[in-house]
Subunit: 272 residues, 2 copies
């Protein structure tokens, strides 16, 4: 049994189905509990998702967040309080869950997840990958330099050590950090994880576990050709469609466009 | 029951498996007889292919051609006598077969074939698509202009009316044509079909049945955006990787590279 966490609103239900379909297809012998943290998704949408997941042999576990919980939490101009869901998921998930794999909905899962899922993370809050593109690293280090971070981890794929999080993560510390750094926060949850917990993140290979779909050529060149299309298709677990251009949008173009649309077709043609 | 024809040598056995895997996956409720016309594929390779096809619920039917059959047929510098297999398949296939679908091995089958397969071709020798790229059309019309062809059909996907072919196609006419046009023939079997039988070919939509993987942008622009990635993935039956650059080669790059490698992985991971 493996536990997956997603936190999203209605706009991402279609990409979520594509992500889940790819997860199920490429992990055929696993059983999945899909935890969905949300505040505003409609009842009929949840029922539809429930049937979709059940048709694939998984179970949907709904974690409805009452927005009053975050009444006193500081907010940011362009973000809803949902930015805290990923950070504080450990407070809302069942006590008996020791670990969970958080996945963004703009991801394709194209190989088995078990090696990552079963990884030893005893002394870490998270396992995550940082994107080793020079410009991304430099910009984010400069932006958040007061907080002594070495790498800037991407929070789209997060293996969470819920047990250790319950023991050590403080809600107040997070809220205080947001209050004191409002002007600096661009991607708030990711910035918070990096600024507060960087040293407690186990680093995993981005080419396997958080492959940024925009950088095919970069990965290929910097690996001396090793990380070519053949390698990605046979080894990469998560292809992450980072950035503003999304593969479900009309104007998209990219190396993994045809593959994304392939899984989208399979998801949309699922009978349930 | 549907009959598929392929004619190839050992070099194309791996792409053939990819093509067949995509055919089987996207036509799950069909039964297939796969006719393989060849002269030199080794016994162990044939056995391997037989087991691969059987694992998918299909049947391999081997049509071994004795090269002495074509002893007196004219040859061309860079082509073996295998160039006649596709043209004269009707002579070697079982008498009771009325139609068969010939497919090149550099094809992905990404949607059901039944609408094409069951098409009315009563008064035609073939159904095929021509590639409507202006330069291709012009060059081939000029090159073969003595033979009054309107369109230049691609012979990578050919639905064959074997009954009518048996009644009307003459081996001698083909051999004479080759003798008299040696210097003009670049893609000999395709040139022969176009020059001799153009008016007996039923034209089918290239965007559905012979989508040239090199021309994504061309198809999209000339269809006013209709034939985008979404359309292709959901409607196109055969993506044809025409030209010298093949998706199973290291140096390949193209819009359908990730999709091709996906099916290649599925083919290579088939257990049999």
């Amino acid at each position: 049994m493996k536990s997956i966490l997603v936190t999203l609103d209605s706009n991402y239900l279609k990409p979520l189905k594509v992500m889940l379909k790819s997860l199920f297809i490429n992990n055929p012998n696993e059983e999945f509990d899909i935890y969905l943290m949300h505040s505003s998704i409609k009842e009929e949408e949840l029922e539809d998702l429930d049937r979709f997941i059940e048709a694939e042999g998984g179970r949907l576990k709904i974690v409805q967040i009452n927005d009053s919980y975050f009444e006193d939490a500081p907010t940011l101009l362009h973000y809803t309080k949902a930015m805290y869901y990923r950070l504080l998921a450990f407070k809302f998930l069942p006590e008996e869950l020791d670990r969970i794999l958080y996945l963004d909905p703009d991801i394709l899962v194209i190989n088995p997840i078990d090696e990552l899922y079963n990884m030893d993370i005893d002394n870490y809050l998270y396992a995550a990958a940082y994107h080793n593109i020079i410009t991304i690293k430099r910009i984010n280090r400069i932006r958040l330099n007061a907080y002594d971070i070495k790498e800037y981890y991407n929070s789209g794929v997060l293996l969470m050590n819920l047990k250790l999080q319950r023991e050590t993560i403080s809600e107040e510390e997070i809220f205080d950090f947001v209050k004191n750094n409002r002007s600096k926060l661009i991607m708030p949850d990711q910035d918070i994880i990096n600024s507060l917990y960087s040293k407690k993140i186990k680093s995993i290979d981005e080419k396997l576990y958080n492959y940024d779909a925009r950088y095919y050529s970069y990965y290929k060149i910097t690996s001396n050709g090793k990380c070519d299309m053949d390698y990605v298709i046979n080894n990469t677990v998560f292809i992450h469609f980072c950035g503003k251009k999304k593969p479900w949008k009309k104007s998209y173009s990219g190396k993994f466009h045809s593959l994304y649309k392939h899984y989208e077709k399979l998801a949309m043609n699922t009978k349930y």
